[in-house]
Symmetry: C2
Subunit: 270 residues, 2 copies
């Protein structure tokens, strides 16, 4: 089920700048019984991302109503919210005033293998390197060709995620996830001020570390650092957290760690 500006519909105008320029932002989150999980965080991020692009953010209550409306009869489902700058005429000039397009999409929960959660996953290092663009870094915008090209690098279904490096050789994130590594007892997650998407679950894990007293740092993480890590994991709002147990073609294998289950337990409490 899809609502576009509150109306049940599954198509948008070809002239919407979301299509012509990727001029918009999105969020993907889980909902239970018609209620979005971690809503305050997701809404804050949506609003912040809209602000970064200069797109007026939809009101919180409008979105909550629309999510309730599409998700009410589902025990659990995925909600995707897309906000574009709306229709434009030909050319890059901003339409003033912008009349943003607000899209709320309900989908079934993804069907990931249970063992990704229970045992951990095999990941790979992608060849595509993320470009440095501080003006867009961190924002979950609709310009996602880098992720598309990176995901197209493999079709071995035993590989659950690809890790993306920047042009300097730092690990930044997974194709669909954020990354944490435990190294010398410190929880590290990549600095996303030049590229990457700053997801909601990453924020939650940083908050958990803070509460729990586990030292955590946001910093550049050169690929070398990965090999020395005690535990490596990827996270997002749908998968929660998966431990990476193996990196394809590297020979590197990690034993099952104890941090991933602790974080998972925390993430499960909303």
């Amino acid at each position: 089920m899809i609502l576009i500006n509150g109306i049940e519909e599954d198509k948008i105008a070809v002239t919407d700048r979301g299509l012509t320029y990727g001029d918009g932002v999105f969020r993907t989150l889980a909902a239970r019984g018609g209620k979005p999980l971690c809503w305050r965080l997701h809404y804050a991020k949506l609003r912040g991302d809209c602000e970064r692009l200069g797109i007026p953010a939809p009101g919180e209550n409008i979105l909550l109503d629309e999510i309730a409306s599409v998700a009410q009869d589902m025990t659990e489902c995925v909600i995707k919210i897309i906000v574009t700058r709306g229709q434009g005429t030909r050319g890059y000039t901003l339409p003033l005033p912008a009349q943003p397009t607000r899209i709320v999409i309900r989908s079934p929960l993804p069907n990931y293998p249970a063992e990704n959660t229970d045992k951990g996953i095999k990941a790979r290092i992608c060849e595509l390197r993320l470009a440095d663009q501080p003006r867009l870094a961190g924002v979950k915008h609709l310009n996602r060709l880098e992720n598309v090209l990176a995901r197209a690098e493999w079709n071995d279904s035993r590989i659950a995620e690809g890790l993306l490096l920047d042009q300097h050789g730092n690990i930044i994130e997974g194709v669909m996830s954020n990354l944490f590594i435990l190294r010398s007892g410190v929880l590290l997650t990549p600095d996303l001020s030049r590229c990457g998407v700053a997801g909601a679950t990453r924020e939650r894990i940083l908050a958990w570390a803070d509460q729990t007293g586990i030292p955590a740092k946001i910093q550049d993480i050169p690929l070398n650092t990965l090999w020395d890590a005690e535990e490596v994991m990827v996270c997002n709002s749908l998968i929660g957290v998966w431990q990476i147990r193996e990196i394809d073609k590297s020979g590197k294998i990690w034993e099952r760690g104890t941090l991933t289950p602790s974080i998972r337990e925390y993430l499960a409490k909303y």
Copy 2:
């Protein structure tokens, strides 16, 4: 008038990857009496760009028929062709086989001031710096947020174009155009192997220089080089070529040049 996969319609599915990821390419060209101008070049570029993203390109005759159909009753018009990877399910994994979405849009010719052509334009240097992404460089893809943010930097209608630099300080292009400079009698245009869009008119001007015996070079052009240029111009399929006579806030002014009119005369012959 808009055709989507050959059918007259003005909306596309919200699940089209052109919207969700900007996963597609486009071209903008002029048509006269139902015939696209410089079609061989535009089609070759469309096909090449599709190939770069791994999207099956639409057949040439299908597109020609559709362009004729939308443009037949127009003396002159603009044709925009968009090709996306088509609909997908949630997630970055490529739909296999892809069923691309083919969009042909007819619009009126843009209404630029005649003096842009007759006298030249004032341009500005944009603050936004283009990111280096060799995997996407040159391709006219739908991830155009950099252009959107750059165009949003000014709303003074006397400024007709913004020039974009890369992260190293080289001039790459205009927001909606490619750039040429004449310096020490050599026609230079920026190297687009790390960022930028390689437009059809740029190719035509390079071909013209080759035919005419004017020495031309594709190379990095540091901003400094601009100030010493004898003549500076921007081009695309709709504007043809405009001389840049002034750079905003720089104090730099150029006299009317002789190269721009020669190039314009060549471009007008199809």
